[in-house]
């Protein structure tokens, strides 16, 4: 067996084999945290083992995909994609059109008019990511990058309290109290949100450059919310060509971050108007080239008197709309009688 040839301790080899990893190709699409949980070892040890997994094709000779450095076959990626965990939005209807929730490993842009609920959704996700997996979270921490000053701590506390109430309601039913999860209190939720206040586009770029190092030192971060990605790039930017280059550079770095650490990156965007098809229409800000930069795009909009979320761009989900509501407890399902999920 290939595992025997690995230069790791006998104890680790034993754990690998008993967990079913008899060949190295089985390790190829795993994240360090997944392997660490599986084998009940530390993430550092998992990282050491994964160094030998066939990403650079040094040991694996059975499959031919190591011809290009860093390449993976679609089959391996399928395995990865199926493992992709999702974060609930607290609205079942939105979760449904998203295939379960916001997915990790990808960048999702969420845009809409002022007051539609972008910051609300950002805060809800930053709280929800901390929930245990059986509640729709990932048991991780959140990074919240605030460029506009719209992060109001009292509101986060309110949403966290509602989350705690929801969880204790569930616990009485399922009697499922894990060690260390004995009732997360609202203040615990707040402690797990790492907050940065960015005051200029330079700070924004600096922070995004620094994130890779920061997250490698804070491995339990599972979501990065940037609220909003737009603000500093709309005020007073004279060189538009430079702006486009800087924005696409940021988008690429964020995508790399999402992939590398298997976390969700949420970019909140504002709205502007453009002239198309003979009339003025609403569209997300930052221009046409930016609209290509993100993997997924969700537009929050008003339909009559209801708030709706629309999947505008996704490589795997079909276009659909779902209604939602912003309540004192946070984002929830809409309770109107005529709600319906519209498939486009």
């Amino acid at each position: 067996m290939e595992v025997e040839r690995l230069p790791i301790s006998a104890a680790l080899k034993g754990k690998l084999v008993s967990a079913g990893y008899t060949s190295l190709s089985l390790l190829s699409s795993l994240s360090p945290s997944h392997l660490a949980r599986d084998l009940n070892i530390s993430e550092n040890e998992a990282l050491d083992i994964l160094k030998y997994a066939p990403h650079d094709g040094r040991i694996d000779t059975s499959s031919g995909h190591h011809v290009i450095n860093g390449a993976q076959t679609a089959w391996d990626m399928l395995h990865e994609e199926e493992l992709l965990t999702r974060i609930t939005t607290s609205s079942v209807d939105i979760d449904n059109i998203l295939g379960g929730g916001i997915s990790c490993g990808e960048v999702t842009e969420i845009g809409g008019v002022p007051g539609i609920g972008k910051t609300q959704l950002g805060i809800q996700l930053a709280v929800n990511v901390q929930l245990p997996i059986h509640c729709g979270g990932l048991g991780g921490k959140a990074i919240y990058i605030d460029t506009e000053g719209s992060f109001m701590v009292e509101r986060v506390l309110q949403i966290a309290e509602a989350c705690r109430d929801g969880m204790s309601a569930n616990n009485t039913i399922s009697q499922n109290v894990h060690a260390g999860q004995v009732g997360m209190q609202p203040k615990d939720f707040l402690e797990n949100i790492l907050y940065f206040r960015v005051c200029s586009y330079t700070e924004q770029i600096a922070l995004i450059n620094y994130l890779e190092k920061f997250i490698s030192e804070h491995r339990d971060v599972k979501i990065v919310v940037i609220d909003s990605i737009t603000f500093h790039f709309r005020q007073d930017f004279e060189d538009m060509a430079l702006r486009t280059r800087l924005l696409s550079g940021m988008a690429l770095k964020l995508m790399k971050l999402a992939k590398k650490f298997c976390l969700a990156v949420i970019l909140l965007n504002q709205v502007t108007t453009k002239y198309a098809g003979g009339s003025f229409q609403l569209t997300l800000a930052l221009g046409d080239s930016w609209s290509h930069a993100c993997t997924n795009r969700i537009i929050l909009y008003w339909n009559g008197n209801e708030r709706y979320a629309y999947i505008d761009k996704s490589p795997s989900l079909r276009s659909a709309s779902a209604p939602y509501a912003v309540t004192t407890r946070g984002i929830r399902n809409s309770v109107s009688n005529c709600k319906r999920i519209k498939l486009m």
Binding site: T119, F151, M152, Y195, T202, D236, G304
Partner: protein, 373 residues
Amino acid sequence: MANRPISEMGLPRSIASVFAARNIRTAKDALSLTEFDLMELADMGLAEVTSALAHIGERVSPPCQTALSLLEQRVQNDQLAGHLPTGLKGLDEALFGGIPFGVVTELVGPAGIGKTQFCLKLSLSASLPTRHGGLDAQVIYIDVESKFSSQRLIEIGAKSFPEIFHMRGMAQEMAGRILVLRPASLAEFTESLQQIKILLLERRVKLLVIDSMAALASGEFEHGASKINPLGWHISFLKSVAELSRIPIVVTNQVRSQSSDEAWRYNFQVGTRRQDLEDTSKYDSHLIAALGINWAHAVTIRLILETISGERFIKVAKSPMSPALAFPFSITSSGISLLNDDGIEVAGQEISTIHCHGHSEIIHSDTLQFHRQ
């Protein structure tokens, strides 16, 4: 932070000197270039450039704080729990205590509806001693259209806070805390902002009122301003100053009529605007807030003042924390008072629309009222 020189970044000697030679002097210069540009300019490989940028990024990044420590700081440092009470009970409850510190609150509504009245009363509230629920501080009132009336201010004070204003010298003391500025142009206003910032950071001034922002900006268009977003810098500045000094900033805005081809939907939405227009044309004169959608995104809280069938309402149109409520109000000798503290729930987009029906009658009757007193 962005203007810190490269020499202070602690980069390896070789890289620092190459940057200096290529005129990349500050962190901002380096971060404003893409990796490709830097590779070309400094003749370095990708790995070197990426690590240099990551290094600079770490030095220039803002500090990290947990949301919990943010909350604890606020609780510890803020007077009045971080909110300035407006004296309107229902509104204060909806806003979790009053106008919040650290953010920009906007008042928008047609002429004569009561925005200035609201600002006058708020200025007084801020100047009051802490034992009477005030901030015991100075207020800077930017009066662009010369609507500030000292007589009216004293009247509001005497009627709203009689126990204070009847004491000798208190009226003078309170009125003495309100500094009124009358900038003649946006440029003058911009200049005075720098001085204002210093006063704010020294914690002597604890409320800034700008009445009205729209008037400042509209002057610019007459001079053929080429900038698409003339207030872009200002709103950024105001937001950061509000946050740094943890004070409330209140800005008033005007309304303008909506043109028929105003953008209202995305390309994936179907349906015509005609239907909506016909329904509401019976009541409204299709008003929207001035200063554009950029501005609407930038303000944190938007309070809309409007008239529906001759009755005035103040509603919370945009707020990260509040439900969508509308409160009927009237203008009295003691400023503004709510007719109902419970508020009416407003569903959906209605909260953001501005009505102006039966408004002209109100202006006339109120002018008479004030003259009588």
